[in-house]
Symmetry: C2
Subunit: 213 residues, 2 copies
């Protein structure tokens, strides 16, 4: 099966509502995790781990936590924004086939990780590169991925027995979907518009731009 990379990059969406809950074959999951694991990493430290979560009870506990954090966020919005927010799905934890929590181990690679002495966050950056590989591979497999951000790291560490130095970076919902939306949910629901690429490009040095919100 050939999946053109540009097609995948542009079709990819952050999925909340379109999960079907159908099974994922072991082969497909292996291809997706192998792609994640092939990401670049500072000093070849590969500081990521992948916790594959199928357990229903764990997913229900996480989902309750996410809903509570949703209420906290909504309480800080003005009435008009709260109304728009009420129409936006923020997770597909219970509807998707499984979840993958991606973690960061800052101790991986020993005390002298090549390239990390100057930039403390470089290991964290590597974990994110693995996440994007995972996301694109899953899209190529015709699955959806939804990155859930409405959680506290400490809650997740406790729920999944993640020891203290290791940090959860993402909770990703994964599975077959009915379809991918052509327009991101937040744009469809009038939360926020995408900016044009031209406003993001600078030549040689930073050039001040009209403020974008």
């Amino acid at each position: 099966m050939i999946s053109d990379i540009y097609d995948v990059i542009h079709r990819r969406r952050d999925v909340r509502s379109q999960f079907t809950g159908e099974p994922i074959t072991a082969d497909a999951l292996d291809r997706i995790l192998t792609a994640a694991h092939a990401a670049p990493s500072v000093g070849l430290s590969q500081p990521w781990d992948f916790i594959v979560i199928r357990d229903r009870g764990l997913r229900e506990s996480f989902h309750r936590h996410v809903q509570a954090e949703r209420d906290t966020f909504a309480a800080g919005l003005d009435a008009e924004a709260r109304d728009r927010f009420s129409r936006i799905e923020i997770d597909g934890v219970l509807e998707s086939t499984l979840s993958i929590v991606v973690t960061y181990d800052a101790d991986r690679g020993g005390p002298t990780v090549l390239g990390r002495h100057t930039i403390a966050d470089a290991g964290l950056y590597s974990v994110c590169l693995a996440i994007q590989n995972l996301w694109l591979a899953a899209t190529a497999e015709h699955f959806g991925v939804g990155w859930v951000s409405f959680y506290r790291e400490q809650f997740l560490q406790k729920l999944l027995d993640i020891p203290t130095p290791i940090r959860p970076v993402a909770w990703l919902c994964l599975g077959p979907i009915t379809h991918l939306q052509p327009v991101p949910d937040l744009e469809r629901h009038g939360w926020r518009q995408r900016r044009s690429l031209q406003t993001a490009i600078h030549s040689n040095r930073w050039s001040p731009r009209p403020a974008t919100t």
Copy 2:
């Protein structure tokens, strides 16, 4: 042109020594930056910017800084590691066609970025997802990308007039190359071996593993 995503993900390398310095067409650069800009972002904040650096003087200044940081790192190694490190190239700033600095603007998206109230670093994560899109698109275009980590953020902010709240996340060398190495440089030079995927996978909860360095 069709580039299979799995092929690109597995061929991709962090390039230092194989740059030819040949030109990049405006169309190819546009496809690469458009791919980066299509990355997911927390709350659709798209907090990245891309500074495209062709200026020779800027690249020479940066290269001198990188070499000084290389010396600092080498001074902290024992004799055996220093000897291995001496054979490793850490950048292709002067040999590559151009560089792209990718930055993070934490103020983009206003005070209430949807999904960022719980995780302060979520915007930084988004920038890294854009970097991986860029890297894969460049690989599909048969270019090399090399992420240089041997620099201080403050040096780069001053060199490129990047205002204080905005943070440089990556200096990426980009351009045509002679070839991609089948094995990562750090593994070829005996600095570090890759770990197997199986050591990175956990089921439902974190499972302690034999310590890996």
